[in-house]
Amino acid sequence: MTEDGKEVSDMQVDLETRIIQLCQQNPNGVTDKLMQAEISGTTVKERAHGLNRLLSQDRLEILKQGKQLLYRLKTSDNSQKVKGADNEEKIVYQIIEDAGNKGIWIRDIRFKSNLLLTQVNKVLKSLEGKKLIKAVKSVSASKKKVYMLYNLEPDRSITGGAWYSDQDFESEFVEVLNQQCFKFLQQKLMTAREATNDPISERNASYASSKDIWKFINELGISKVTLSAEDIEAILDTLIYDGKVEKTIVASQVTSGSTGGMTRLYRAVEPLIESTGLMRLPCGVCPVMEECQEGGAISPSNCLYMKQWLDY
């Protein structure tokens, strides 16, 4: 840049300052047409030269709006951060910045920047050293690292939310919460049954809103991380899939914790049947049922499972 600087004529410097001024006046970007009208007395070639110089200095950026090109001033702090870095670093930084809090995989950086792997590695290392970017491990694939800007909070899809610690799914934690929520609802059902004879009030008393359950879990203090009401609802949903709980949604006054004037209510329910007849003899769970044949190696008369069950 400094080499060029010597040759820069006064006119060109003048042109550049005018372009920058124009861009400062229109922070949303300047079209080619507008530029032509505002900066009179210059040829297209001169303007293009001036713009190119500004672009190479990283003071302007080009955007596309429909078929038109827009020129905009680059926000100063970004260009400040990578100041003193070479072009490659700038490009890589740009790519990582675009990826936002979802992060970007090293392979994709390579494809987008068209740089060699070794080069990219070097650049990433230096950027990491400057604390401009950070590497985050993704939960979906444990070996996959994604890069994002240093100050960003990783997305839920990367960290997995409250249920993950260091990319591991905390299945025990979920299990404990699942049990505690069910215990709470079951106690509620029991007290409701004892309190009243009227079936409607019994049913209503056995309901608990997700907010109540959330409070209960927080007061229990089993969780080190703070759980949101949505997290508790996810847990309660697993109880529904277990067939132990049912859910209804009722309209309510808009309060915090309820979405759009709706409160989700949960209650414990009794299953419709006890374990079914088939499962009360060993054949129900027998893993070698297919091979079981009278007169065969496995048969009802020499069945070990049957013998143990009958001797019990």
């Binding site: 088939l278 054949c283 129900g284 009802p300 069945c303 009958l310």
Partner: protein
């Protein structure tokens, strides 16, 4: 007809009617319809035995006959009816709860004999009851119970001979007249009473052959109406479910509504006919000790429950209700299948299964997120269920070449397929239980026979009023280890019999659902 079903039918026929009938039955199952000639050739049994076996099977409504394409009568085994042999104890038990000992004995007689005339049933039951109890029961009482059973359609007339061409004796046509199905014929009670008094009733009947002494219902035969019993058993299953879910009072109300609807609607329609709130009020107050103000809350709880046993179809007159039998049955079937999945694969698998049942189509990743099970375990569970055919996968390719890497695999549950699969397993399990029971008795045959002999000796000794010491001596012929073995065998046989009944309960609900879907 699957192999498991045929095997089960075969062992059931053996258990109830012996080996000859089993042989004929198995042959008919294997070959479909067959004329008599071929049956004799294939079974290598003498004509008399085959004929007799067929008679037994026809008597019990297990074989039907019609003229085949060649002009010979052909016999076909009704396997579905043969499977009901497993359910006989339940019919008898339910008759007992409904109509007491008399009802129990009537149904028992009809089941063991296949079909009987009314006079014969009444005579036999009266005789058995007066033997069992000191006071005895009058013929009239027994007849009343029989009439009640007919009125409630638990017992119906058999088809009657319509035409029989004596010139070309091929096969008679049998017919049932719907009007006469539940018509009570005249019977002469005094004849039964008379034969009851004498010591040799059959001999007496043979002697007097005058028109006066003949029973007028000689060619009207009765049999148990299985369909009606199934209807009753289904209602019982719904009531039990309601009781578990919402308590005994809700169950009482549901029972009343089912009973009110039962007489007027087609029993196998997806919903019963409508019952108005007023009717429910009157009937419930009359039959149970629930007071009127208690009823509306229960009705609303029953309709709003997620098991959807009852539904309100109209608002007029305070509400008109129907029992949504099909939906309720589906809930029961789902509960049964859940229980199967849970007991076989664990509660985590059950969670995945129910999740798919609720959400219909899901991808592997979605299952992981919603079920909140670690990805690795979810894969294991899902593939296990898939392998055991409880789940199906639907492929949605993104490109034309169906490459697995560019294809979505959506898992889903096909409930009727799973249902059939579980029924098959039930058939096999029932077959296994019966074979095991047979094997246990065979293994201990000597011991069981010895016990019988000893008991017979003791009985005769008691009759001859022998001393206690003599009886004790005979009793000691069975050594303590033998006694322990005997009690063990007895408990084993009991356990196996109980499990057969429980298996049948599962099968009953599942087959009912399959038939509903047809």
């Amino acid at each position: 007809m699957s192999k498991a079903k045929n095997n089960l039918c075969s062992v059931l026929l053996k258990e109830h009617f012996g080996e000859v009938v089993q042989k004929i039955g198995t042959l008919l199952m294997k070959k479909g319809s067959m004329p008599l000639r071929l049956l004799i050739i294939d079974s290598k049994l003498p004509l008399q035995k085959v004929k007799k076996a067929l008679c037994v099977l026809i008597q019990h409504n297990l074989v039907e006959f019609k003229v085949g394409s060649r002009g010979f009568p052909e016999y076909t085994l009704l396997t579905d009816n043969a499977l009901l042999l497993l359910r006989y104890p339940r019919y008898i038990y339910n008759a007992k709860t409904l109509y007491g000992d008399t009802g129990e004995l009537i149904i028992e007689e009809l089941l063991t004999n296949g079909q009987m005339t009314m006079s014969a049933v009444v005579g036999k039951v009266t005789l058995r009851l007066s033997e069992a109890t000191e006071s005895g029961v009058s013929v009239n009482q027994v007849k009343d119970v029989f009439v009640k059973l007919v009125e409630t359609q638990f017992v119906q007339r058999c088809s009657v001979l319509q035409s029989f061409d004596a010139e070309k004796p091929v096969a008679p046509t049998m017919n049932v007249y719907e009007k006469e199905m539940y018509l009570i014929p005249e019977i002469k009670l005094h004849l039964i009473r008379k034969s009851e008094g004498s010591d040799e009733p059959p001999a007496k009947k043979r002697r007097v052959e005058t028109q006066e002494d003949k029973q007028p219902d000689e060619d009207i035969y009765w049999r148990v109406n299985f369909d009606r019993f199934h209807h009753y058993l289904r209602d019982q299953a719904l009531i039990t479910a309601a009781s578990r879910r919402l308590g005994p009072k809700a169950a009482d109300i549901l029972r009343t509504i089912l009973r009110l609807a039962e007489t007027r609607s087609d029993p196998w329609a997806p919903t019963t006919c409508c019952v108005s709130q007023q009717e429910v009020f009157e009937a419930v107050v009359k039959e149970t000790n629930i007071v009127k103000p208690e009823i509306p809350p229960y009705l609303s709880v029953l309709t709003e429950d997620s098991a959807s046993l009852l539904s309100k179809v109209e608002d007029r007159g305070g509400g008109v209700y129907t029992v949504t039998t099909y939906k309720a049955l589906q809930q029961l079937v789902e509960a049964i299948i859940m229980s199967v999945v849970e007991d076989r694969f664990g509660s985590k698998c059950c969670r995945i299964f129910r999740l798919l049942l609720m959400k219909k189509y899901l991808e592997q990743k979605q299952i992981e997120d919603l079920a909140m099970i670690p990805a690795k375990d979810t894969k294991e569970y899902t593939y296990k269920l898939f392998q055991e055919k409880f789940l199906n996968a639907h492929e949605v390719p993104r490109t034309m070449d169906h490459a697995p890497s560019r294809t979505f695999f959506l898992f889903y549950v096909n409930i009727s397929q799973v249902c059939r699969m579980v029924v098959e397993r039930c058939y096999k399990a029932a077959h296994n239980a019966i074979s095991r029971q047979e094997w246990e008795t065979r293994e201990n045959k000597r011991l069981l026979e010895k016990q019988q002999r000893v008991e017979a000796i003791i009985a005769t000794l008691r009759e001859n009023s022998a001393d206690q010491t003599q009886i004790d001596e005979v009793e000691e012929m069975i050594t303590p280890p033998e006694r322990a073995q005997l009690s063990h065998t007895k408990s084993v046989v009991n356990k196996l019999e109980r499990s057969q009944l429980q298996l049948d309960e599962t099968m009953f609900i599942l087959t009912l659902f399959i038939n509903f879907r047809k």
